[in-house]
Symmetry: D2
Subunit: 366 residues, 4 copies
Amino acid sequence: MTSTSSPVRVQATDAVDQPEPSAALDTLYRAFESELLVPLWTEIGDLMPAHPDSSALPHLWRWRNLLPMAAQAGELVPVGRGGERRAIALANPGLGGRPFATPTLWAAIQFLKPGEDAPVHRHTQNAFRFVVEGEGVWTVVNGDPVAMRRGDFLPQAGWNWHGHHNLSDRPMAWIDGLDIPFQHHIGSTFFEFGPDETDSTEAPASSRSERLWGHPGLRPLTHLRPTPATPLLAYRWEHTDRALSDQLALEADGHRATVEPGHAAVRYTNPATGGDVLPTVRTEFHRLAPDTGTRARREAGSSVFQVFEGTGEVTVGDTSWAVARGDLFVVPSWQPFSASTEHGLDLFRFSDAPVFEMLHLDRSVA
Amino acid sequence: MTSTSSPVRVQATDAVDQPEPSAALDTLYRAFESELLVPLWTEIGDLMPAHPDSSALPHLWRWRNLLPMAAQAGELVPVGRGGERRAIALANPGLGGRPFATPTLWAAIQFLKPGEDAPVHRHTQNAFRFVVEGEGVWTVVNGDPVAMRRGDFLPQAGWNWHGHHNLSDRPMAWIDGLDIPFQHHIGSTFFEFGPDETDSTEAPASSRSERLWGHPGLRPLTHLRPTPATPLLAYRWEHTDRALSDQLALEADGHRATVEPGHAAVRYTNPATGGDVLPTVRTEFHRLAPDTGTRARREAGSSVFQVFEGTGEVTVGDTSWAVARGDLFVVPSWQPFSASTEHGLDLFRFSDAPVFEMLHLDRSVA
Amino acid sequence: MTSTSSPVRVQATDAVDQPEPSAALDTLYRAFESELLVPLWTEIGDLMPAHPDSSALPHLWRWRNLLPMAAQAGELVPVGRGGERRAIALANPGLGGRPFATPTLWAAIQFLKPGEDAPVHRHTQNAFRFVVEGEGVWTVVNGDPVAMRRGDFLPQAGWNWHGHHNLSDRPMAWIDGLDIPFQHHIGSTFFEFGPDETDSTEAPASSRSERLWGHPGLRPLTHLRPTPATPLLAYRWEHTDRALSDQLALEADGHRATVEPGHAAVRYTNPATGGDVLPTVRTEFHRLAPDTGTRARREAGSSVFQVFEGTGEVTVGDTSWAVARGDLFVVPSWQPFSASTEHGLDLFRFSDAPVFEMLHLDRSVA
Amino acid sequence: MTSTSSPVRVQATDAVDQPEPSAALDTLYRAFESELLVPLWTEIGDLMPAHPDSSALPHLWRWRNLLPMAAQAGELVPVGRGGERRAIALANPGLGGRPFATPTLWAAIQFLKPGEDAPVHRHTQNAFRFVVEGEGVWTVVNGDPVAMRRGDFLPQAGWNWHGHHNLSDRPMAWIDGLDIPFQHHIGSTFFEFGPDETDSTEAPASSRSERLWGHPGLRPLTHLRPTPATPLLAYRWEHTDRALSDQLALEADGHRATVEPGHAAVRYTNPATGGDVLPTVRTEFHRLAPDTGTRARREAGSSVFQVFEGTGEVTVGDTSWAVARGDLFVVPSWQPFSASTEHGLDLFRFSDAPVFEMLHLDRSVA
């Protein structure tokens, strides 16, 4: 389903006339309660609003606040088997204190000190890492060590073994995105421990997955069966950066290449299918050229953004923030989102759009 | 993903060693709280269990209790614009009093008296009706009147206009199944009011959809584009009954036709694709021949069953119930389910399996 | 690709200026020949016409001529291992005497006398039978005996074992459709002999495949994996006839149900996918109500029609014929086709459309 | 369908006992002929062989012979509107002198002198260019100029406008691959003339398509709808070469990356789908390391190979040739193929495999 205009009638389901109170009705309602029943007519306003009305709220987390706290956790909290990861999650103020950025998405800052090892495990949750600054950690996926560097996007599909280790002499932080809240809600989560130590001590510049899959449009004949998640474990900054620059250059030459004037954007995709990198999570990178503003746009489904570079102003619903490198913010379902910049702005984004599209629930208006 | 055996190590994420308490840690935790942050290491046991650990509980609702309460609501609660439907939903005891049978599924009894009209609306939620007894109501979908009779299954895909009216001189009750909890959680719900009166007064024995789509393997040339939900608006009891009888007869003749000995089963499918009737909801009908017991089976994903006919015993997790016509019960994700019968048992089932399969989260063990 | 209007410039590739003749050119052309080379510029008119220009010609075969010859073959030609089938194929007058109705399709009349047995074999060619009159033969597919009766359509996907036997006391004739010319051209044909005798002597009214798959919209849980060809081995006349009558009745009531006024049509489909019954062959049934004429329509791809019932006039390209029961005719690629009738006309059709659609080569204009 | 072992019984369809000769049979056969009918039992050996038995023959064309003839055509044959291209096609010795390398594939050498212009047209035939040596020609596709250089693969999907011009001061030759014989056979060919001059005089090093689509795993948000053919118009040698080197290096490190020892291979794919670049044509590049030999392998479907670099021996059916740069050879359906090399061998390959796979006719044995 694509954009629609749905003029909703004035009367709304959240202002429903309730039946005439009476003793008999009271008795009935108490009978409902004791039988574990709830009538639709008292709940319809919440359950069937005219448009999505998420309890998640727009919110911004400042990188300059997050990073020191992560470092502090580095001092106080060991990383190892059991806790598994030194990850600190964004808790949307509308979601009751749970570590959920949105009803479907988890976003956390993870921190690893020199020589530390985040032990190997696997889980059905789909995950990725995105690096806003630093380097020195390798994530090892099914034995394939993948270097993490500024600007890199590193997907990690469900049920693959993975651990991380810091082979450098400096601490490193990055963000993790997962579908934990979604899978927690529907009840699909499996988890297994692997070896306590990460199963590789190699530190190659390029992973095996990139050497097999990182050549544009070329597919290894050994891997012809499509996989639901991407087999490419690193999307390097140099490619993302060049793709965005190329779009802006093509636009400058008069060709259709950008989403709207000054707004370049790429989606990270599975080279084996052309679809999203993860079954439940979409990831994109947006670049606004200097003096660019985007149109406000609503989408069914929620997103988390991180500012990668530059400065600008972002508006979510009724709230606007001036943003800078590393800042993270949330766009709940159907809240209008726009951004503008004077000097240029690079934004990483992830969302639950694949869930909506697969189930034919996607909608948008711009 | 199909059945797997995943020997999980003894140590579990729900017994995580926490960091050494200290004043500094307290300070850090308070800082987390004020910044709306939550660490993974305090939550991992709940968020990343070894296998699905739904807060939904197995539960049974007796039809002999539900039906009189629905009738009583018929006396006390008018049906009309605003409340929209005289529907009374099952509220799973593990889900905090919300009208959710499982985290993804809604199940309700709906009741309509002679001459009553449930007004026309549409919503993104996918729905169906299933009739355990009675007749006399027509559901009118985009102007096509569809008679409802015992044993009929009537799917109602999202965003189609629909109303119901009772053209008979007797009240009628049936069950509604929807994906309300799922769509409420992810924030995908749109809703629109239509005319206050149902847009047809015809009472044909067969809907237009059945005349176009109800001929096995034959597709009208006017409707060649596949639709995500089924275009067939009624799956009549006579066909379901015969399909199940045929399977048992084939099995008796030595042919492979049943799921397991004495256990016949059909899935309701979209004749335009062979897939599920609704993007988010799977529906099936199971028949156990006399003196049949099924193997216990776990599935990732939750289900609701209604007994259509017969008697037997069903076991969900650690709980067993003797069941009879109309009884409804819930199987939460990964809880083992089995059923047995001495005199024969017919079970209608709906589940969120399409969500799990589309997102590659399906698993089962038998 | 759907209908397009492609105004072709007057100059055509079939009137190409050739290079200036010279001794040097002659020498070059002889060198080409000895090296097994052919220049494009001498062939482009044939190879790259402005639109499809098939060497197949429109042609009609009269049933009243075919049937006696098939009976005569019954007297003179035994049926058995080696020759395999007493089948007599239509040889399009434009295709050099080969038994090809079109460049992709085979159409033959097959004849089996009382007690005869067409031995079991299998081949990659996709096949079907359609019965214009008579009964008494069972086709046995992988051991499942399928009765053949007037109006029935019986698909037979590639690489399934099958034989036929006549269990009645009367001879029976029917038509076979296959993709023999297509598979012969591309080189995809495999063939294996099975038992010399048909592997069943049962004569059930209904096949096992129908008992599993013949219930509209209901899928056996034992058969959830989609198959490229239909698992349903018989599409019975009663269903086809009713589907067509229902379309005309719906049209009479003012609903959209027919392809064009008075023209009802169904496609035979795979209930497991909603797609064509066979990977390479599309099959349809068209009914023209009395006093109906169809619009002329061109399609890329070729078809064979058989008149099932009624009389009328059909036009293919520049040729028109009055047709009656059993008559077979060919519509080559891109030849306009139309039909009209005073008293009603039922037409069975098969074509190579799935090949064109799969490879994105389909086009049509009406 | 994948590899199968099909032990075929000794009796073959090509040695069929024919019916007893008689005057009556003669009369019947004459009647068949006059009615344009052909019996199956006289043709079954040709039409239904135990395995594919193509009339195409293995054959080799030497580049050292082709290239001078193409240059000679450059002297004698102008290029321009009507003849359209100075292309000289391989004519398989088993296919009656037609310019068909196999029953489905066209392969030609094309030659363009300095300053020449091959005029703009479009056709439903799917095409590509592959450059074994030289540079200086730009192919302009829908206005996007694409440089052609040694090792580049340049797909050209059906129905896109395209012309070529040589902007250098040297002549250039390359090979064209198309599905002309396939589309000619089934009757799907449309053709239109465009402007007489190529619609661009730019000579950029990189096409617009590469700037949009040439970044591994990154998809422009302006182009989210999958297209049946690849939107990427050039697959550059540097990427192909590196992908193959990487596979051999991974193999040397003990990882699974090659098809078989010493045999690296990539498939050119559509980045929007992961599928083949063209709906009807598969293209691959194979590299044999020094002292490597491949296993003999049969496939249903036909191929054309060109030696890109190195020397070696190739065997097709019963024939072997020593091959060198530029040599072209044909592997007919089901003929076993193998290659070996002492000093290394790079092979470009194209085939009709997508047709076979789409229609579920693919088979192979190794």
